[in-house]
């Protein structure tokens, strides 16, 4: 048991899985000698050698494309997109092959690989370094989309992602990389993909979020509880696709009220899907409209303005109060 930040926890997962399984290969821009621009892959080269930890040329489509080939040959590539903003250059390979090889061949060829990418804002980064595009991947059938929120679940989910038989887009909330530490067991820990987590039980309102937004959500919940003695059930999605909406709808069937906190622009985002699932399964229990507290439908501004565009605890508090008072 060691107190690790998310960078160290993710790094630990890769170290342990590579040690366990020689089919696991790490590749990407600056992942080997440099150890990754965020140091996520630090030490892997020394430990496992240039045979298994590959610095690639600067080409996202080829990073995924070659990973697909490796995976079809039975390996388990864990490739890195240096920032999620550059991952759009590999969308062709992702949509045409990563998500389809299994259905194309009725399971004869599969593509068990992990695409790691830092996503989200709040770190005063350059343009294209701050977006949240989980919905873009989630809408495409055939791949899983995972968004950890803490060092411990990041480690346990990455292990599951590496062992999963399907391509997994593993979106790391870069704002949480070094934001806080958590006890992470040294021994193996795995969390299932496709399962949301009730991080706090409650009776008055269901608060749903994922990734970096879990922190303002938790902060806001505590504040509201203190202020109004409200009992808030808090759900961390952890996996975006396939979405475990039952955990959410079951909760909302009890609480009757729901607030979803999302960093991405609102329209056509994950919170819209959650709202639709609640509409499907908990319609009769709803006492207020599901509140989507999200980013805005504007191009993510440069960091001089980003703070006022990213959902924060006060806005979550306000959304919760609105929903309670509806």
């Amino acid at each position: 048991m060691a107190k690790l930040n998310m960078v160290q926890a993710i790094n630990l997962a890769m170290h342990q899985e590579m040690a366990k399984d020689t089919d696991v290969i790490v590749l990407g821009e600056d992942v080997a000698v440099d150890g990754g621009v965020f140091r996520l892959t630090e030490g892997l080269l020394d430990k496992f050698g240039a045979e298994r930890v590959l610095d690639t040329p600067l080409a996202e489509s080829a990073i995924l494309g070659t990973s697909i080939g490796m995976a079809m040959a039975g390996l388990k590539p864990v490739c890195e997109m240096q920032f999620s903003g550059f991952a759009f250059l590999m969308m062709g390979q992702f949509e045409a092959h990563a998500t389809r090889m299994r259905s194309r061949t009725h399971g004869q060829f599969t593509v068990p690989l992990v695409i790691r990418m830092p996503y989200g804002g709040g770190v005063r980064a350059l343009e294209h370094h701050s977006e949240s595009r989980e919905a873009t991947y989630a809408h495409l059938p055939g791949a899983k989309v995972v968004t950890p929120s803490s060092p411990r679940n990041a480690r346990a989910l990455l292990v599951a992602a590496i062992r999963d038989p399907d391509p997994v887009v593993f979106m790391e909330p870069k704002h949480s990389y070094r934001a806080f530490r958590e006890d992470v067991p040294d021994e193996e820990e795995v969390m299932p993909l496709g399962k949301a987590q009730v991080v706090q039980e409650g009776t008055d309102l269901t608060l749903v979020s994922w990734g970096a937004m879990m922190r303002p959500a938790l902060k806001a919940a505590a504040e509201v509880e203190k202020k109004h003695g409200t009992s808030i059930e808090i759900i961390d999605l952890l996996t975006i696709s396939p979405l475990d909406s039952d955990t959410v709808t079951e909760s909302v069937s009890r609480t009757g009220r729901c607030v979803v906190v999302q960093e991405a622009p609102r329209s056509f985002g994950v919170s819209s899907e959650i709202t639709a699932r609640i509409n499907d399964k908990a319609f009769l229990y709803l006492e207020a409209p599901v509140k989507r507290l999200t980013g805005y439908d504007v191009v993510m501004p440069y960091f001089g303005r980003e703070k006022s565009y990213i959902p924060n605890a006060p806005r979550v508090v306000h959304a919760i109060e609105e929903t309670l008072n509806f």
Binding site: S61, A62, G65, T66, G69, M70, Q93, H106, D164, D166
Partner: protein
């Protein structure tokens, strides 16, 4: 203005058996009568299947497909030169090569009639990738497969095909660069059939040859007469040797011609002349190869007739099998979206079955 020359390159062209069946004896590969006849047989079979598919398509018994006629001398000698553990990564105009590698004739028929079943190999170890419709992607898959083969210490090389048009895609560039940087055991073959649907070779790229694109990656390259099975046999042999010796990838431009429409949905009269097609037909591979075999005393019209009958029967049988009733379930996609079970998929699966049942009732 005088400058220092720091690098020099050249592109070679290889042709052994020319369009008139004239042989360059000093370049002639040592292939046994059996080898030569086997090669010819595969070419005839591929041609026969292609022609039959066109009829089927016109009769509404098959979906849209891209004919291969005229390009048999490329993928067939290549596939014949490959070893068991090698990977065959096609674009979509390598029918002959796929057959040689062991893909059943029926697979192609199923595939072009809208059934994923056409992608399922009798044995995964045949190492044939499914057709890659999205042009260019396969270049990178091939690099990954080649990397994996080397990593696992297999004596395996990868052969990957693409068209002249496909060389314009970014993935062509990125994949060849990876292959060269990693010195991978892979051979890239561009089937330059002069056309990308309606775009002629010269509007596709301003380079004098397509082979020279290898220079951009420090990759050895060669232009070959792609209608000459002997030249293709020699070229692929050398390239595979390089790959197996760990000397890295090779780019081969195989010059040929797309004798038929792009796909059965295409109308070439909109963009090229019959005259051009006529000249191209005179260079097609089977005529010259037939003549070569006769000159060597390996072949005559009687055997030709017999062979035609054989391949016709073989294709006929495949078509019968293809059109025999199948019990392929409509709901298989629900079982193929993930390798793990998920409630949302299961629920939708039930909904799907209910819909299909309801529609069956209401006829």
């Amino acid at each position: 203005m005088p400058r220092k020359q720091i690098a020099k390159f050249s592109v070679q062209h290889l042709s052994i058996l020319d369009e008139n069946g004239k042989l360059d004896a000093k370049l002639e590969p040592k292939l046994s009568e059996d080898d030569l006849l086997e090669m010819y047989r595969w070419m005839r079979l591929a041609r026969e299947l292609d022609e039959r598919m066109l009829k089927l398509q016109r009769q509404g018994r098959l979906g849209t497909f891209p004919p291969n006629t005229g390009q048999e001398a490329i993928s067939i000698p290549v596939a014949l030169a490959m070893k068991e553990k090698d990977w065959f990564v096609g674009a979509f105009r390598e029918l002959g090569g796929r057959l040689v590698r062991g893909e059943p004739l029926t697979s192609t028929l199923y595939y072009y009639n809208g059934w994923e079943e056409g992608n399922v190999l009798p044995d995964k170890e045949l190492r044939i990738l499914p057709i890659s419709v999205v042009i260019g992607c396969q270049i990178e898959h091939a690099a990954g497969l080649a990397w994996a083969g080397r990593y696992k210490g297999e004596d395996s090389a990868t052969v990957c095909f693409i068209g002249d048009g496909g060389t314009s895609e970014g993935d062509f560039h990125e994949g060849l660069n990876f292959a060269a940087v990693w010195k991978l055991p892979v051979v890239y073959i561009v089937q330059n059939n002069q056309w990308a649907i309606s775009i002629p070779r010269e509007s596709q790229t301003a380079s004098e040859t397509i082979a020279q694109k290898g220079i951009a990656y420090g990759m050895p390259c060669l232009q070959v007469d792609g209608n000459d099975p002997l030249a293709m046999h020699v070229a692929i042999g050398e390239a595979l040797d390089r790959a197996r010796k760990g000397e890295g990838p090779t780019l081969i431009e195989a010059v040929t011609y797309r004798l038929m429409m792009h796909t059965t949905a295409d109308d070439p009269t909109k963009y090229r002349t019959e005259e051009e097609e006529k000249c191209a037909w005179e260079k097609e591979p089977l005529i010259r190869f037939n003549k070569y075999l006769k000159d060597k005393g390996y072949w005559d019209d009687a055997r030709e007739e017999a062979l035609r009958g054989e391949v016709k029967a073989q294709v006929e049988e495949a078509v019968k099998e293809f059109e025999s009733p199948k019990d392929w379930p409509q709901d298989s996609p629900f079982k193929q979206v993930f390798g793990t079970e998920h409630k949302v998929i299961a629920e939708q699966h039930r909904d799907f079955l209910a819909n299909v049942a309801r529609e069956a009732d209401h006829g």
